[in-house]
Each structure stands twice: as structure tokens, then as C-alpha cells.
């Protein structure tokens, strides 16, 4: 899988050739530095490990510093590997850039961490309908989940029953997002639709 690490910049809308207003997400993707090249011989599988975003030296552990020194690069915030990276041939310390991987018009997959919503009820968390009625005996249960199971048999609540709880802040993958435009010199890519996460959060674009 080929991919890049980036940062969500924000959203905007542009008009396409047919005059339709298209919502787009702006992502600053790459350049990523190759921090390790894994091969069948050395590691048992092929992969490319890349890093993105400068980290402070004081926040980087000594073993990681050594790892970055090997690639002759400054310490990076995020390091991850892409298995079977075959788009371009890269050596240790090389930069992987946007135009190495993506072209305008193709479909990409975006992975991000969704915005944390805290403890939420089932209406927000799972799209339950609630009661939809303020009268007819309802007093304070407009957003209640309703029944969570039968009584003496099975005499328990089944595992995985959807209830309130921590919502968002999870790793979310969105597939088939169209690449609208690439500004290679600024490392910016315009992707159709929304990408999970806050502005400034890490995003992985892959295809």
C-alpha cells in the first residue's frame, strides 16, 4: 500500500467544471522522510517506513534519535510504515512527496482520528430515534434508549448492547475520496468531501 502522512488544514468549497459547488478538504501531505526500508531479506516483508512533522529533540527518546540519525534527518512527530510500498523506489533518507504518489482525479483513502465528543447518549452516538413525543406519558425520556433486553430469560444484558459512552476520538477510515487538485510545490492536496478529525490533526492518505 502506498501512502503519505499529512495534516488536515481545513475545509472549503470550490466550483467544478460543471458549475457545481463541491465541498473539499485541504490536506498538507508530506514531504515524508524515509526512515527505514524493510525488505524480504532483512525483515521478512517489504515495507517503507516514513516520518512526518518535525518533533523537538527533547521530546524524542534516545533510541528514536539514533533511528533518525541513521536516515540523517531531524526527529519526526509521526513515524509509520506502508507495507509493499511500490509507487516509487526510495532509499533511506529520501523524501516522498505528493506528486510521487497521487494524481488528480483518482480515488484515495483517508485515515484520521475523529473529533472527540465526550460521553454521549445513544441518540448522538448510535443515531437512535429517541421518543419523538413529549406527551402521552413521557416525562423526561425523550432521548432514552428504550428497552435493553428481555427479563428473566436471558436475565442479563447482552454484550455489545449499544448504550451511551465515550464518543468520537476513534480512528476512522474514509474510502473513495476523489483528488480534486494537487499543489505539489506547497505540498497541498484538495480532496472531495470531509476527512475525520480536527484542523491540524494527523491524516494518512493512501491508495
Amino acid at each position: 500500500m502506498n501512502g503519505l502522512i499529512g495534516k488536515k488544514i481545513g475545509m472549503t468549497s470550490i466550483f467544478d467544471a460543471e458549475g457545481r459547488n463541491v465541498a473539499c478538504t485541504v490536506v498538507e501531505a508530506g514531504p515524508c522522510v524515509v526512515t527505514q526500508v524493510k525488505t524480504e531479506d532483512s525483515d521478512g516483508y517489504n515495507a517503507l517506513q516514513v516520518g512526518y512533522g518535525d518533533a523537538k529533540v527533547k521530546n524524542t527518546s534516545k533510541p528514536m534519535m539514533g533511528h533518525f540519525d541513521k536516515a540523517k534527518t531531524a526527529p519526526k512527530k509521526k513515524v509509520m510504515e506502508f507495507r509493499d510500498f511500490d509507487a516509487v523506489e526510495k532509499q533511506l533518507g529520501d523524501l516522498v512527496k505528493l506528486d510521487d504518489l497521487f494524481v488528480e482525479g483518482e480515488l484515495v483513502t483517508a485515515v484520521g482520528t475523529s473529533k472527540g465528543k465526550g460521553f454521549q447518549g445513544v441518540v448522538k452516538r448510535y443515531g437512535f430515534k429517541g421518543v419523538n413525543d413529549a406527551t402521552h406519558g413521557q416525562h423526561n425520556r425523550q432521548r432514552a434508549p428504550g428497552s435493553i433486553g428481555a427479563a428473566s430469560y436471558p436475565a442479563k444484558v447482552f454484550k455489545g448492547m449499544r448504550m451511551g459512552g465515550r464518543t468520537g476520538g476513534k480512528r476512522i477510515t474514509v474510502q473513495n475520496l476523489e483528488v480534486v487538485k494537487i499543489f505539489a510545490e506547497k505540498n497541498l492536496i484538495l480532496v472531495k468531501g470531509a476527512i475525520p478529525g480536527h484542523k491540524g490533526s494527523m491524516v494518512i492518505l493512501q491508495k
Partner: protein, 119 residues
Amino acid sequence: MDAINFVHEQMTKEITYPDFRAGDNVAVSYKIVEGNKERIQIFRGDCIQIKGENSTKTFTVRKMSSGVGVERIFPFASPNIVEIKILKRGKVRRARLYYLRDLVGKKARIKERKFIKKV
């Protein structure tokens, strides 16, 4: 934000329309595609707000159509806008004329701005 502005600069063509504000009576010529036919519709009414910036800037035009208020939001960046004509300059004290929604008939008129500063 810089990056978004950069995208706006690159993606939007520089189109200049006459400078109008909320309260002005405008006629917007808008391209409409029906099947494979294209025609131009003119939407005439009072501009009740201008909001947003750069390529997401929009303006809202309100008109009375057979006794019913109709509002339409146009993006400035829309390629379908052929022309914007200013028919009358209005004298208003607000940037957003939402109060017009509650008024009908003679009350919903906007006083004309007679003295216009030369640019």
C-alpha cells in the same frame, strides 16, 4: 489559514462585480441548465446580507413573488452568475436585513440612498 487562502487564490478566477451592499436592489442574471439547454434567469430583489470571505463569500437576495417572500443565496465565486446589476442603492442601518422577513407591503420598503460616495 494561509494554506486555505492559497487554495482560494489558485482555484477561483478573479471576477469583479459592481460593489453593492446590503439594502441595494440588484438583478442577478443566473445561468440555468435544463437538460442540454441553457438559459438565463434574472432574479431581482433586495440584497439582505453579504457574508463569508474569499471563495466562499455569498450574498442573499430577497424578493416578494406573488405575495410570498423568496430568498436566494448566491456564491460570488459561482461561474453561473452572468451579471449583477445594481438597480437602486438602499439606505439601511444594518448589515443583515433580517427584519425585512417580518415586514410586508409598504413597511418592507428600503429608502433610497441618494448621495453616493465616489470611489
